[in-house]
């Protein structure tokens, strides 16, 4: 039976879920835009992004224009993990309705 135990714990955390959702919505997000959208502190956001990066869910692109510019995007693995996460949530809702 499907329940919350089946959900990917790395994504299920509130902050990381918000990050994954935003990354799934657009191809790439600059760090500052992510921070502004989520209202997180630098440290908090970096910690979550590092966790997701270590898991291979998030890709980091660093460019030096006038200033260093770091942007984040979802990897193929991250996109699949996020889709699986949504599928499990969807299944829980459907099962509950039956």
């Amino acid at each position: 039976m499907l329940n919350f135990d089946k959900l990917d714990k790395a994504i299920h955390e509130k902050g990381r879920l918000a990050i994954m959702t935003l990354l799934a919505a657009r191809p790439s997000w600059p760090f500052q835009d992510l921070k502004a959208e989520l209202g997180m502190s630098d440290g908090n956001l970096i910690t979550h992004l590092r966790t997701l990066h270590k898991l291979g869910f998030v890709a980091v692109t660093k460019e030096v224009r006038v200033r260093p510019h770091t942007s984040y995007s979802l990897t193929a693995k991250g996109r699949v993990a996020f889709k699986d996460y949504l599928d499990v949530l969807d299944q829980i809702v459907r099962t509950g309705k039956k």
Binding site: L17, T21, A24, D33, E37, V93
Partner: protein, 222 residues
């Protein structure tokens, strides 16, 4: 079981809301459209009465003044827009210049260059040739294009507003030649009243939250 289901539903709601926030941006809010619409109607009626009746607004509205009046309407509408965006940002605890707003400004900016240069030309020498209708066609056309440039992340209502402006801009010169009336000299003013006035009021009425949305608000990206 039901507890898990409601938790899952809540998670999906949060995800949906975050995704919409990231993918849908309404460059013109309903209150802004209402202010812009009312101001435009007021300006159009004042100019019309000044030209056609004894009613006088205090100064002669010639070609150049026509442009100045509408630039004043634009300025006040932009200030109202900034006020409403700031108010919404404070209410929701989000930044005034949000990432979505930056994205919209990047899309809109190129569409404003030609109307800007045509306006400068009009104020310098263009007004001497009574080119108001040309100015109005450029303003409405490029305003429509600016709205359509946000099509990928704008709600459907904004894209429809963009199309209405663009098609009207195309129709203005054609209709002006086809329909000769006693008020032909007022065509630029009437066109501004109809587009920036009436269209904005219709848009405000259709999108005003709480009064019901007349058409579905789905992003073109969906």
């Amino acid at each position: 079981m039901n507890d898990e289901r409601s938790k899952a539903e809540e998670h999906l709601r949060v995800i949906r809301s975050l995704m919409e926030r990231a993918t849908i941006y309404r460059a013109i809010s309903a209150p802004t459209a209402l202010v812009a619409g009312l101001l435009s109607i007021f300006a159009a009626v004042a100019i019309f009465l000044n030209n056609e009746t004894g009613f006088n607004v205090g100064f002669q509205i010639t070609s150049r003044e026509f442009a100045f009046v509408w630039l004043a309407v634009l300025l006040i509408s932009l200030m109202a827009n900034a006020f409403f965006i700031r108010h919404e940002a404070l209410r929701t605890g989000r930044p005034f210049i949000s990432p979505a707003m930056k994205l919209a400004l990047r899309a809109i900016a190129p569409c404003l260059l030609i109307p800007l240069s045509v306006t400068v030309w009009f104020l310098q020498t263009g007004y001497l040739g009574n080119q108001e209708l040309f100015l109005v066609a450029v303003w409405t056309g490029f305003y429509g294009l600016a709205l359509l440039s946000t099509n990928l992340f704008a709600p459907r209502s904004l894209a429809l507003l963009g199309w209405a402006f663009l098609l009207t801009s195309v129709a203005i010169p054609v209709l002006d030649r086809a329909i000769e009336t006693d008020f032909s000299a007022d065509t630029p003013d009437l066109a501004m009243g109809v587009t920036f006035g009436l269209y904005h009021l219709i848009y405000a009425a259709c999108t005003w939250s709480g009064t019901g949305v007349l058409f579905s608000e789905k992003s073109a990206a969906e």
